[in-house]
């Protein structure tokens, strides 16, 4: 499998708590929030990589950097052999590779312009990025509506006249309108009803196979990962905790955080509560973190002295399986 997307040493930092003029005189510096810290990521052609982690761990920021909506602070993003990390996000909107990386947003209601009909929403990327298709826009939109099973009669409706599932279909049709090679999905199902979630996931799975796309699938639902992902990346406070295939992560989790995460999945069988690993303590602050301390220390059930003096790096645990923990053993 050749890598379609190769992200190396990616960092994204935000300045927070800008001090006032008097505080600045006293020598107070603004804090730096490390949302994404030295992340490496590879996605092969036609591969689905699940990105999981708790709220605020930086997975949405990482998705937005990869989708080139925001700029990285450091690191490279190689897409199909070209380093697109150096192109400013504002300029990337007009870049020829823009059509190859598309995105499906978390909230289908919020991601559709309330003043545009479904037709116009789906037609927007075609009109902007495929000037040759001007005469056939209507045909293309109808084709896409059929592809995502959106009834044609709904195309003239405004978003507020559509249901959540229908809005999600419009968002997906817009994202696949120009046959992108990489689709970044930022929790595409979390705003939907459970019954609709399954339908939309099946649709996404089918589209991937029919259009040969790769997915970067951001989610916090591990069942979704098991259903449609090939590989999983577990993120904790801006850093990669563990990366491996779905089988490796679910069968032999090496990082204590991954194990805790997996133990929190409901069994689905009433009365059979699985052995839960309870994490105590608060997560460390992502603002100005000490680069020598493991991010998980303080919540980790088996942290040692070494974890407080040396940041664990990703170490191989098996074929294509890495984890960032001093205590993890290769299988």
């Amino acid at each position: 499998m050749t890598a379609l997307l190769d992200v190396a040493g990616l960092c994204r930092r935000f300045t927070v708590g800008q001090p006032g003029p008097i505080e600045r005189l006293r020598g107070k510096r603004p804090g730096v929030l490390h949302a994404v810290d030295a992340v490496d990521l590879r996605i092969g052609e036609g591969e689905v990589l699940g990105l999981v982690g708790e709220s605020g761990c930086g997975k949405s920021t990482l998705a937005r950097v990869v989708a080139r909506l925001i700029d990285p602070s450091e690191g490279s993003i190689r897409f199909a052999g070209e380093d697109i990390g150096q192109i400013a996000a504002r300029r990337f909107a007009r870049h020829p590779l823009r059509r190859s990386i598309q995105m499906v947003f978390q909230d289908p209601t919020e991601s559709l312009n309330p003043r545009w009909t479904a037709f116009d929403c789906i037609a927007d990327p075609i009109r902007r990025m495929d000037p040759g298709a001007a005469a056939k826009v209507a045909d293309r939109v109808h084709e896409l509506a059929a592809l995502v099973s959106l009834p044609e009669t709904l195309l003239q409706r405004f978003p507020h006249q559509l249901s959540g599932g229908q809005k999600a279909r419009v968002g997906i049709a817009r994202a696949v309108a120009l046959r992108p090679r990489l689709l970044v999905l930022d929790e595409p199902t979390s705003a939907l009803d459970v019954s609709v979630q399954v339908v939309v996931l099946k649709l996404l799975d089918e589209l991937k196979r029919r259009l040969g796309m790769s997915y970067l699938f951001v989610t916090h639902d591990l069942e979704v990962v098991r259903l449609i992902c090939d590989r999983v990346a577990v993120m904790y406070l801006g850093r990669m905790a563990e990366v491996g295939t779905v089988g490796q992560i679910f069968e032999r989790p090496s990082h204590p955080y991954t194990r805790a995460l997996l133990s929190a999945v409901p069994s689905g069988v009433p009365g059979r509560t699985p052995q839960r690993i309870q994490l105590s303590g608060d997560p460390r602050s992502p603002i100005d973190p000490d680069p020598r301390i493991c991010r998980f220390l303080g919540r980790c059930p088996n942290g040692t002295e070494r974890c407080g003096t040396e940041m664990p790096q990703l170490r191989p645990m098996g074929e294509g399986h890495v984890a960032a923990c001093h205590l993890a053993d290769a299988a």
Partner: protein, 284 residues
Amino acid sequence: MAAVQAYARHLRHVVTENPVTGAAFALFLLLVLTAILGPALVPFDPLQSDASRTLHPPSARHWFGTDQLGRDVFSRVVVATRLDMTIAFASVLLVFVTGTLTGVAAGHFGGWVDRLTGRIADTIMAFPLFVLAMGIVAALGNSIGNIVLATAVVNFPLYVRVARAEANVRRDAGFVEAARVSGNSEARVVLFHILPNTLPIMMVQVSLTLGYAILNAAGLSFIGLGVRPPTPEWGIMVADGANYIQSGEWWVALFPGLALMLAVFCFNLLGDGLRDLIDPRRRT
């Protein structure tokens, strides 16, 4: 064609849904028709004075009576509609275009654009607005163009502030990010995705400032700035009539004053209807 039909249906829905909106639209239509057709229909020449018929009370011949020069007040009130409405619409159009575009740019781009427009708006707001309008007209000269300009300048902060806030909350909304991913340049994002979404609120602003603009124009004429006699204009007519109220000739000031009140009233009631008209979310 289908879109036109859908829009006509939407218009009918908005007008019939709320009786107040319906009445406001009817009144508005009446004002516009008066402005267009009025001068051709009035029974007397509004400038023709008649020394033998000064200060006659309302009668079958002179519905609103006559003024101190024997001119027919009804004809003058009707003819003045066109001038007052033109000043109001021209100034509101001017400030709507400039204020909304500046405010949306300030809210979206932030930074120095935002700071500069904010300071300009603050500076304008620091003056008592009517005094500022007086100052502008007095300094630039007594012309209709300058009344329009002064009224627009005075309303500028209201448009900039509202448009800025409306654009600012949407600068990183989901549909704006989606527009960027769809290959829209920042200029297109602002003009085609953010600006249209600020319009419903701006329409309410338009209706409120229309009323204010007409009052402002009349007020300037009332104190002798702006439109000059003998041109029929509601503000001048109220000013003329004010001298006669104490001696019992109430009709000279009352009728232009009523016309003014009716116009302001109509514009203010129009606000909600205009917003509903321009907001597709109100469509059923």
